[in-house]
Symmetry: C2
Subunit: 269 residues, 2 copies
């Protein structure tokens, strides 16, 4: 008797996790990356892509059903909202006919924003996506959160089909991760912009700095950033710092140079 009860359940469970069906809402950059990745994974069945305009949906319409009707979501395990942060609340309120799990892909928005839906979750890819650049999605960290353990399991299953780096992260942790990401991504990139400006102002080729930029990122494989720090501020080389400030004509660049050099000096003082 035991076996008779047990086996059908296991069969059902294996079947359930073998295939994950998804409806994708959104037509932006992240939606496109998810769409392309879904298309390469046989265990993920993309049911429909929903967007606001025919033009935006054209990219998707070749291989999957598309729709502009947010009020009539077809049945699927997960409805994934890959829309701008500002739009999540509005879209989440429209899709109340949907009975599956509703998840957004944002780094900043809390999970709660998806109510009044009850089965809610987050599926946040911690990466920067550039149109036209092919990226190995198996290395993208996926930060997962869900209201219910079963839904967390479902998102983990979806995530593990896509990436080797899947993590359960709470809304509060995700927020902090996002602040850290602003420093390592947005602010680092702005340092590149200033480097580029200095090159352009002096007729120098910014390409000369690209190997250095790449190696600065890559050396974190073997050193912590604290250990990896070099430069005039790190070694307290006041002469070089004065010389650099003399060369910087832009007031904003000077302010940033001073603040960051002082912060580095304080850290290693």
């Amino acid at each position: 008797m035991f076996i008779v009860i047990y086996w059908p359940y296991a069969f059902y469970s294996a079947y359930f996790y073998a295939m994950v069906s998804v409806v994708l809402i959104g037509t932006g950059n992240v939606a496109k990356v998810l769409f392309k990745t879904f298309n390469t994974i046989s265990q993920i069945q993309l049911i429909q892509v929903i967007g606001r305009s025919d033009a935006a949906l054209e990219f998707f319409g070749q291989t999957v059903a598309v729709s502009k009707d947010f009020g009539d979501i077809p049945h699927a395990d997960i409805c994934l909202l890959a829309v701008k942060d500002e739009a999540i609340t509005e879209v989440a309120r429209k899709i109340t006919n949907f009975k599956g799990l509703v998840a957004h892909v944002s780094g900043t928005s809390p999970m709660d924003i998806l109510r009044p839906n009850t089965r809610i979750g987050v599926f946040y890819p911690l990466q920067t996506f550039t149109p036209g650049r092919v990226l190995d999605f198996t290395k993208v960290p996926l930060c997962i959160e869900a209201e219910y353990p079963k839904d967390q399991e479902l998102l983990l299953t979806l995530g593990r089909y896509m990436s080797r780096s899947v993590h359960v992260i709470s809304s509060e942790e995700r927020k902090k991760l996002h602040v850290a990401a602003v420093f390592v991504n947005n602010f680092s990139n702005f340092m590149y912009t200033i480097g580029n400006e200095i090159c352009e102002e002096n007729g120098l080729d910014f390409n000369l700095l690209k190997p250095l930029i790449n190696e600065t990122a890559k050396k974190l494989k073997v050193l912590s950033p604290y250990e990896a720090q070099t430069g005039p501020a790190r070694r307290g080389d006041t002469n070089t710092m004065h010389e650099h400030l003399r060369l910087l004509k832009n007031e904003q660049q000077r302010e940033i140079y001073i603040l960051l050099s002082n912060a580095i000096k304080a850290d290693y003082g």
Copy 2:
């Protein structure tokens, strides 16, 4: 007769450029990278490595002659000073018996610092070198400068044996390149340090951010940093910025967040 005069000269010239002999002064990180690279290139003959102590010279002594005598440099095409900026003047004054080209490898020091030697130059590898990390030297940009055209040619020859990216850069240009390098290398790395701090303060794994850090650097292959800029400051998302400042407890982190966000806002405003 023309042929008789012409061929020996061409032969001599080909011979001269075929082989470049080098004496290396210095035993630090850059000296080690140069040493290892020289050893892999048949056209570069490393005559001797000179350093201050037996301990420091041990690394080099297995495969090449070593010496502690700065006052008696053996004959070579080039004597390369891979020593700290502060030490260049002193070392340059000691080696006046040397008849070849004297060049330093610094990004900040002017070429003139090598006087009273007359045949002087600069051989600056624009890269960050980490002990224990193997790096493809053929991609390291080499910035070259010399007092005389023939010596410039000699450094170009040496450089082209080592790297596919060799450039003639004046002392003044090199200084500006170095300021730009401080932004893209030292300051970017400090942004990673802050990201790491935020992770540690909140029990989050910094490894989660490493794919993002790498991709931020790599996307410069297809976008300028100005085009690549994203984030709350870029899109003027005041809510998220306030939320981030609320989360940052460290005064230094807050100051940096505000200054850089304002600078980004001003750039894209």
